[in-house]
């Protein structure tokens, strides 16, 4: 499965790894670049359509998704594409 077809790709989708703390957005899609990565994220609720808020970017990326706080390494954050146009704070 190369991409998630259920949600249309957005031109403005940016990698979670480059977003600043405080940024709010919606998950546009999760890249399936490493086996199991997208599944493990999906199991935590990180799926297309989920609202997220970046809490911290160093030393790892910490974000809130659906009232859950999740910490990931930068490589994982880079696989999460976030649409920030719809909601901006």
């Amino acid at each position: 499965m190369p991409s998630n077809s259920s949600v249309s790709r957005s031109e403005s989708a940016r990698r979670l790894s480059v977003l600043d703390a405080g940024t709010v957005g919606r998950v546009a899609r999760v890249l399936r670049d490493e086996p199991g990565r997208a599944e493990r994220l999906a199991a935590l609720g990180v799926t297309p359509g989920a609202y997220i808020r970046v809490l911290q970017t160093f030393p790892g990326v910490i974000f809130e998704c659906d009232l859950t706080h999740i910490a990931v390494e930068p490589a994982v954050a880079a696989a999460i594409l976030v649409d920030t146009t719809e909601v901006r704070r």
Binding site: R37, A42, A43, T47, G60, L67, I70, A71, E73, V76
Partner: protein, 596 residues
């Protein structure tokens, strides 16, 4: 406020509560850290370990509960985030249980704040085709966060009872008991089964309202303080110091002195010796029980008088940290370092546990994802993590010499661990897994849970570790009787005196160090007290002892977890590393003319 919404009374489902050949089996299922074990405890009156981080339950726990007039088997399962595709070992346990004959009825426990994730799992539970009840747990925390759920609407939509609970306070659990009789197979459209993630998302959007958040609460403030580097690093130092004072000083010194010097030194051991001299005519049996390597005078004394107080205080301190949700935060800061060693930040949990007892920590490496990660973590634990008892002895000896001596020892040990991890991460086959960790909310630990958990762990220690102590003592007794011990000491002499520049009697201490590393350190403590060791010798000897072979209990645990072949290989690797590091340190200190 705990409300139970049951669709319509259904006479068919009362069939669930009829006479049957075996008790009805009710499985508690849900995402990790949603409170399944708390509900299990309330329903059955049995305690399953409860902590505030995902992955506390890694096996199945069973208990009985009275529901209406019927006795049911309640099954607590490891948390699952998904039932589809590749799952971790603990998730596989739950999946097998649900698909087999072992569950007649499913109670899905959901953290109400994470309703969306919970419903994604609901959709995956539907195809199993078993009657279900949905428990919306932690409804109070959800409301405090501005989350409202239309449980009536949800019950009508799913066609199953939906019960609101606050399990830690026992609220809603009677309603949950009552709802079991009305359990039924959820009615969901086929799309839900085809795309559970999308369906869960849509359902949550429909039945959940998130209002503007109330102003930041104390827990959130603490949560921020322990995750942002500027505040988190000083806080870590404070936490480490507090744990050291409670476990290293109060437990390892004050309580040990009371039990070892008082209870065992004055009463139990003299009484045991007097009794055996009076009633046991055979010298070998007397030696076996109360001799130098006696089961009572050594095995039991060490297990009860020296280690028990230390592990008890450690379990209390560690349980407090577990329930507060603090420990997973440490993973954020250590992730980069661990990644260089073929691990990821999750490995910080067994490493921290190792400071309490390397044996127990070796078991907790089960939370790591890949076999390679587990192996590296087990090696690092065996190599460099001193247990609390040993840590206290180290501080006792080196603290009396100089602060630089303490710093040298820990600097060398940490550097060595990093080097070994770095090399192992590169040469061992296999992969490390991504660092993806759910951070539990910061909470004030509940005293009741802390006390029950500590009591359970002490029983575990007494049941698991004490027999290992006795086996170890028997082994030493056997070696001593056959002359093997003396032979080993002679054989070690060239290394001890030649390479490490230590007095010959330290060889004996190293042999004792295999029984328990802190026992060996205690032997060094005596030598140092009698002025037999210089500062450099004390640092070199303790460095070797810390890096040296794990204690027998830890070794047997490695055998249990990884097999005898791997355990022997680890031993064969660690021993020369420890000695060579000690020799290099000895020569470096001599060359630099350091005296401490």
């Amino acid at each position: 406020m705990a409300c139970c919404t049951v669709p319509t009374p259904d006479p068919v489902m009362s069939d669930v509560l009829t006479v049957r050949a075996r008790p009805l089996r009710v499985a508690l299922v849900g995402n990790p850290n949603v409170g399944k074990s708390v509900i299990f405890g309330h329903l059955t009156g049995r305690y399953a370990t409860v902590s505030n981080f995902p992955g506390t339950t890694v096996g199945i726990t069973r208990g009985r509960a009275l529901v209406g007039a019927e006795v049911c088997d309640i099954v607590d399962t490891p948390g699952v985030n998904t039932l589809q595709g590749t799952v971790s070992e603990d998730e596989a346990i739950t999946r097998r249980l649900l698909q087999g004959e072992q569950a007649d009825l499913i109670v899905q426990v959901v953290d109400t704040r994470n309703l969306r994730r919970g419903l994604m799992l609901t959709a995956q539970l539907v195809p199993i085709g078993k009657p279900m009840v949905l428990a919306l747990n932690m409804i109070d925390e959800a409301r405090a966060h501005g989350v409202d759920v239309d449980s009536g609407g949800l019950a009508a939509r799913l066609g199953i009872p939906v019960v609101e609970t606050v399990a830690v306070e026992g609220r809603g659990l009677e309603a949950l008991r009552g709802a079991l009789a009305a359990a039924r197979v959820p009615q969901v459209p086929i799309e839900a089964v085809r795309d559970p993630l999308r369906w869960g998302h849509e359902m949550a959007t429909r039945f959940r309202r998130i209002h503007a958040r109330p102003s930041a609460r104390f827990e959130e403030w603490v949560g921020r303080a322990v995750r942002e580097p500027v505040t988190a690093i000083p806080l870590l130092a404070v936490v480490l110091y507090a744990v050291y004072v409670f476990v290293g000083v109060f437990g390892a010194q004050t309580l040990v002195a009371l039990l070892e010097g008082g209870l065992f030194g004055r009463y139990i051991n003299p009484a045991a010796i007097a009794l055996s001299e009076r009633f046991l005519p055979w010298l070998w049996l007397r030696d076996l029980l109360v001799g130098q390597y006696g089961l009572i005078t050594m095995g039991l004394t060490y297990a009860i008088a020296i280690v028990l107080p230390v592990v008890t205080t450690f379990f209390l301190a560690f349980g407090f940290l577990e329930d507060s949700g603090y420990l997973p935060r440490l993973a954020i800061f250590s992730d980069r370092t661990f990644r260089a060693m073929g691990l990821n930040g999750r490995a910080v949990l067994p490493m921290v546990l190792g400071l309490g007892c390397d044996t127990m920590a070796t078991m907790t490496t089960r939370i790591l994802t890949t076999p390679k990660e587990r192996l590296i973590a087990i090696v690092l634990l065996a190599l460099g993590i001193p247990c609390s008892a040993q840590l206290a002895t180290i501080m006792g000896i080196l603290g009396g010499i100089s602060f630089w001596a303490v710093l040298t020892l820990f600097g060398v040990v940490l550097l060595q661990m990093f080097l070994v991890g770095y090399i192992a991460g590169r040469i061992l086959p296999g992969d490390r897994s991504d660092f993806i960790l759910e951070l539990p909310p910061i909470r004030m630990p509940r005293l009741r849970n802390l006390l029950i958990k500590t009591r359970m762990r002490i029983w575990w220690y007494l049941g698991e570790a004490v027999p290992l102590f006795l086996v170890g003592t028997l082994l030493l007794y056997g070696l001593d009787r056959t002359g093997g011990l003396a032979w080993i000491i002679v054989a070690l002499r060239p290394v001890v005196t030649g390479m490490l520049g230590l007095p010959a009697d330290v060889a004996q201490v190293f042999v004792m160090g295999f029984l328990r590393r802190d026992y060996g350190a205690a032997g060094l403590f005596q030598l140092a007290q009698h002025g037999r060791l210089t500062g450099v010798q004390a640092v070199v000897a303790l460095t070797v002892m810390t890096l040296f072979v794990p204690c027998i209990a830890n070794f047997l645990m490695i055998v249990k977890e990884r097999g005898l072949r791997v355990a022997t290989a680890i031993l064969a690797f660690i021993t020369p590393v420890a000695v060579l590091t000690g020799a290099a340190l000895n020569h470096a200190l001599q060359f630099l003319r350091v005296t401490f």
